[in-house]
Symmetry: C2
Subunit: 458 residues, 2 copies
Amino acid sequence: MLNEALRYVEQNRERFLEEYKEFLRIPSVSTDEAHRPDIQRAAAWVADQLQQIGMERVEIYPTPRHPIVYGEWLKAGSARPTVLIYGHYDVQPADPLEEWQSPPFEPTIRGENIYARGASDMKGQVMLTLKALEALAQTGGLPIHVKVLIEGEEEIGSPSLEAFLRSHQEMLRCDFSLNPDAGMLGADLPTITYGLRGLAYFELRVYGPAQDLHSGVYGGAVHNPAQALVELLAGMHDAKGRVTLPGFYDAVRPLSAEERAELARLPLDEAFFLQQTGAPALYGEAGYTVVERVGARPTLDINGLKAGFINSGAKTVLPAMALAKISMRLVPDQDPQEVHQQLRRYLEERAPATIRWELIAMHGSRPTISRRDTPWVRALSQAMEAVYGRKPYFRREGGSIPVVAQLQDILGVESVITGFGLPDDNLHAPNEKQNLPNWYRGIETILRFLTVLGEANV
Amino acid sequence: MLNEALRYVEQNRERFLEEYKEFLRIPSVSTDEAHRPDIQRAAAWVADQLQQIGMERVEIYPTPRHPIVYGEWLKAGSARPTVLIYGHYDVQPADPLEEWQSPPFEPTIRGENIYARGASDMKGQVMLTLKALEALAQTGGLPIHVKVLIEGEEEIGSPSLEAFLRSHQEMLRCDFSLNPDAGMLGADLPTITYGLRGLAYFELRVYGPAQDLHSGVYGGAVHNPAQALVELLAGMHDAKGRVTLPGFYDAVRPLSAEERAELARLPLDEAFFLQQTGAPALYGEAGYTVVERVGARPTLDINGLKAGFINSGAKTVLPAMALAKISMRLVPDQDPQEVHQQLRRYLEERAPATIRWELIAMHGSRPTISRRDTPWVRALSQAMEAVYGRKPYFRREGGSIPVVAQLQDILGVESVITGFGLPDDNLHAPNEKQNLPNWYRGIETILRFLTVLGEANV
């Protein structure tokens, strides 16, 4: 049965790729209201896929914002476990458009890679998982019970997901969740992620004069809101790269000596991060390695800055308003609500009376750590070893996947977190890509993973 | 002759206003290459005006960028002085467009004001001056020799003007210059400006990673260029609101006790600036009054900030680049070239090795102080007293008019600097306006000014 399924994949390589491209052509940008019809189209397309690969009870559930697509196949027999596969069909915005070498929604193959927004995050991961299901379903049936939930709001913080999980607990009941929304350490380094950072995202607006002023006529009279903003932002880190929000580190679980030793074994040295980022030098919180800083320590980043005149040329304006988008990556046991309060307290303490400010909480998610001694993790390890010829690495990843914490809270299940994207896939950036050989290895890995689970006595 | 000219103005009020509106409808934004045809159109329109009002030898001189319009009338007789009237037909960009109550290039009258980009700065001032010339020229001839130079690059720092002045010294020879590009302290407060701040305008770019990164995957590994930028910008002022660039105040001429006393007599208290700006509080260099700070002390302002994701919504990007537009207003005897070097030195000393930076000098102009005991200043005072019923105020203004220093250097003449715009005209901002009663009083003031000069024995 395994061999049949593998042969099926081999025979359908080209068609799989064409369908993957079809999916990538839909500009399902969830944060942009202008793309609402594309989001609808992507949801319908995913539902079609689920039908075509052999899933049953396929449904599109509307939410207050973007629909959730669900399908299931529950004919594996009573002794078999049930997996809930999570994915998302929405993508990040594509801007800045001018930096793309090929159009973001016209998938283009260059060398071993396919380039498109969502190629890696995570339409590529969704598609390889669905194609593994298809190969098994079309060659004798799935070895375990499978439920598939593909949402359309991950890139905006999954605002509708929690309510959906709560109101569909019976339907979604499972033994564990498979979440292929993480990545690999490198092309030959299969990876299982056991820790994820949480997120707290804000927009900070600083207001000064009632409207833009001439900087000659009024420069020297008022506090320029852009200046007040940069002063507030600059004060959010100290000289050691630590975040200065009051109480920010209070809930951070210290890293044990054992975990630090384990993380130090990952093949991710400073040279690797320098090469991946292209930065002139590395930077971060003093006292921690870069692997610790990106996975196991919280950070605060400015994601956007806007004030005054930003076109080419010169305009001597003293702007009425300045804006920053700020987000914190959180680690256990930080909480996005508490961090919101810490930021608010920082602003209350530090903002001068010469300006007014407004803080808008955009979205947040809790950080998580998963167990590594479950049958599901063991089965995935075994499948990875078969495909890649080596045991997987276990890592804590810097990104945030809100659903992991929600599934833990609401359904009481842990997630097996993996993925077949690479560190240089340009997630959330221009020229996002997916390595294609690895994409096919991903299909085989998921296919073997489910097969092992079907054979095991779990 | 004066009475005839005044009657002419009275009889042509409506037509003058219609022509002013025509001028305002041309979107002659000099900083934007897309508006190059509009700039050409504005130059041609001004040349037509000069012809129509009776000027001779009207010519449009091309420059490397935007043309200079020139006209003259030299038939006042050998005993009479010659004035070189300066103006500019270009305007600032109109953005942010959405904040305009009526379209920026569709002049709209609401109450006593006419709203449009350039209504005050300075198409309004150019038009009232030309209409004064017209009234005199059409009712017996101009009382003194008049040369008119209207450039199209003032809002981008007059890059072609200096070379033009140098290569046309004979043509432009004059006894003094009239520059109506300044403003009034208030609607009933005629004002002569004797000091102008200079300008040094820069774009600072900070580069970090080779391209935008996912802030989850890489947050904690590299110095976010937006963070590095805000740290550099925040450090440019100390806690007392002083600019920290090395040597920034070294060349600043201290204010004499006498001048401070004089400036203190201006009807410009803190309540006035609070009301004009709408800011929650005033702010600036410790130890100086707000009038001193905006006129007689140098400042540094952030004119623009741009980094990362600035649309609505959230994007967890760690941007590859962050940009600021920064400008300094300078006072005697600061020099824009020296300030450029001071900024460069600041960056060399303070920029961390974790980022790269680039500094682009956009344009600069020297600050000036003019004498107040000249026949031209006396004549203008007399004209103002006749129109407004009070002697003018003498002030130092915060804005920059590059041509004033250039005329001093190249032609050896001082400028009489005035204007009929008001502090709340929203120069360089949305909803720019000109008070119309004051615009008509401006026509009468210039008309009387030239008449006094024609009668005086100067």
